[in-house]
Amino acid sequence: MDVPHDRAHRVLLADDPDGIVTTPVPAPDDVVDPVRRPPRPPRGTSAKVPWRLALRRDGALYAMALLPLLFLLVFRYLPMVGNVIAFRRFRPGGSIFGEEWVGLRYVRMFIEDPTFWHVFTNTVVLGALTLLVCFPLPIVLALLLNEVRTKWFKGAVQSISYLPHFLSIVIVAGMVMQLTSLQGTVNQIVEGFGGEAIPFLQRPEWFRAIYVGSEAWQTVGWGTILYLAALTTVDSSLYEAARIDGANRWRQTWHVTLPGIRPTMITLLILNIGLFLNVGFEKVLLLYTPLTYSTADVISTYLYRVGLVSNNLSYAAAIGLFQAVIGLVMVLSANFISRRVVGASLW
């Protein structure tokens, strides 16, 4: 069974009948079995085999999955469970799951902690600014690149713009520090216009601009890849039809190109929203100083200092758990809303 066929099943059996579905539905006679079936029918030899038989037939496959599974359990799921220390007293060197229950003590603690709400606000502001700037930029760049007819030029721009993606965050932070230092290029420009050199990284009012700017610098090129791929799949007969209808280039972009890459845009938007609260923790950690805490301190850096510098692990775990749960809720709701409203979703 090939992939489109499989999709057709999923579309027909989607549990919200009034949801708008973007996947093309094939002709009715193409559909084998429109009656009730699990939403995702297993392909190939689909009938469920008893476990005994499955183990004998696919023992080698299960064996191959064993080590990775063990890895996931130890390094991914154990820490998830380890979050119970948010509700338990923890003694360094003791059990990783803590000593005794203390209920919601640590949760109450951060709810009543003004610093927590301060860093929470900072996180939301920084995340929103990043999303606002770094989400549309790759789309714009991809649209511009798509109009370039000279192959070598397009290739060169792409290669150069992908490069920052491969740099260590330490290097990026180092570059930011050099460019914004008192002797750096930015201040040379400021002085060239007759201004006074500004120690940018020590000024809280500049932190957000520096953060978002460097983020845009690092992500804009790499972000175009998926859009450029999506752009090549836009049906060229649609452009033809639009031209016959008298649409100029701008209207073609608006009515044909953008709808063509809409699923990609939505998918990436959902992913970005899910990562909203994890705003580049490492970069903030490298770039902030106590002087800029008022705008730069975010949830992750705060919990890092509380937990690992001041050794209050349970309190920090409570904050971390809160952050992770909010992140999960956000990605689930973004997915739900986009499925309801535009009919495209991650799952």
Binding site: P42, K48, L69, G82, S159
Partner: protein, 310 residues
């Protein structure tokens, strides 16, 4: 397409109609577009250029704020100083070691797991996929991870850096969708010849997947090469530090010097470290820059493969 007038000019590669090429508006747009793109490219390149310029400049010129895109007071002294530092080479060696070991483990876990879950008939397959995908959206967080690594006794060992990152679910899904697209008949033929799953995997599937395997190796190597935070969390001993952490300490030390000397109008020590920072950064980027032109294509194809199943 009967009427030639209405047939749009189609670009061979993108398949996008561009309209009549000779219209003035279009030509204007093309030039404007090209200029914007050139500007963007220059903006992206500039930090690299200035870094390179600083690495060759004299400390006096940097201190005076004279260095932008061109080295001032050209010298190779800074490179000699950095290359003469044992700590630099130790950390370089550590980074190579961590990258190689980490990538090897990661590839073992990723390819085997991806192969198992690429088999549609495998019972429990959806559960296995679910277990992996869930970790993309919910993770334990820094604190429980720290507690776990500490209690496993991995602090101040290589394993703390190498193991926690050894399976990226994104890479796993990329591999899985690649394996799913390998023609079934090849494997079925091998099965008839009496090969088990494991032999099919090593003798037939892996040799067919060289491209995607190479891509994954690159993804993992870059991640390990660039990682500094894990080292920052779990390592206290200088001689275990990877290059990224060595560099971070260099930069962090330099900023405190800069902050302290800002009032004193900049002492030489701050400027020298700006030099040394630049050289160390250049040397840290160098391996990536050297392989980048040859492997860029693979990176891009890896991302696209991943997006197929998203």
């Amino acid at each position: 397409m009967v009427s030639t007038d209405l047939t749009p000019v189609v670009d061979e590669r993108a398949g996008v109609p561009v309209g009549p090429r000779d219209s003035t508006g279009y030509r204007l747009f093309t030039w404007l577009n090209a200029s914007v793109l050139v500007l963007v490219t220059l903006l992206i390149l500039y930090p690299f250029v200035t870094l390179l310029a600083q690495s060759f400049s004299s400390s006096g010129a940097i201190k005076a704020g004279l260095v932008n895109a061109v080295p001032v007071g050209f010298n190779l002294e800074t490179y000699r100083v950095v290359a003469g530092d044992d700590r630099f080479w130790t950390s370089y060696g550590n980074t190579v070691l961590y990258t190689v070991v980490g990538t090897a483990i990661a590839m073992l876990l990723t390819t085997t797991f991806a192969y198992a879950i690429s088999k549609p008939h495998l019972r429990g397959r959806n559960a296995l996929i679910g277990i992996a995908v869930f970790t993309m959206f919910f993770n334990g967080g820094i604190i429980p991870n720290y507690v776990l690594i500490s209690s496993l006794g991995m602090k101040n060992t290589m394993w703390a850096l190498v193991l926690p990152g050894a399976l990226s679910v994104f890479n796993l899904l990329v591999m899985k969708s690649f394996f799913e697209n390998i023609p079934r008949e090849l494997e079925e033929a091998a099965q008839i010849d009496g090969l088990g799953w494991f032999s099919i995997f090593t003798r037939i599937v892996l040799p067919l997947s060289k491209a995607v395997v190479a891509t994954m190796i690159l993804f993992y190597s870059v991640a390990y090469w660039n990682d500094w935070f894990t080292a920052f969390l779990y390592l206290d001993e200088d001689n275990l530090f990877p290059l990224s952490l060595f560099l971070r300490n260099l930069i962090a030390g330099a900023t405190t010097t800069t902050a302290a000397s800002a009032a004193a109008a900049g002492t030489t020590s701050a400027a020298i470290s700006a030099n040394i920072q630049a050289v160390t950064m250049i040397l840290a980027i160098l391996p990536i820059l050297c392989v980048y032109p040859f492997v860029q294509r693979h990176f891009v194809s890896g991302v696209m493969l991943g997006s197929v199943k998203g």
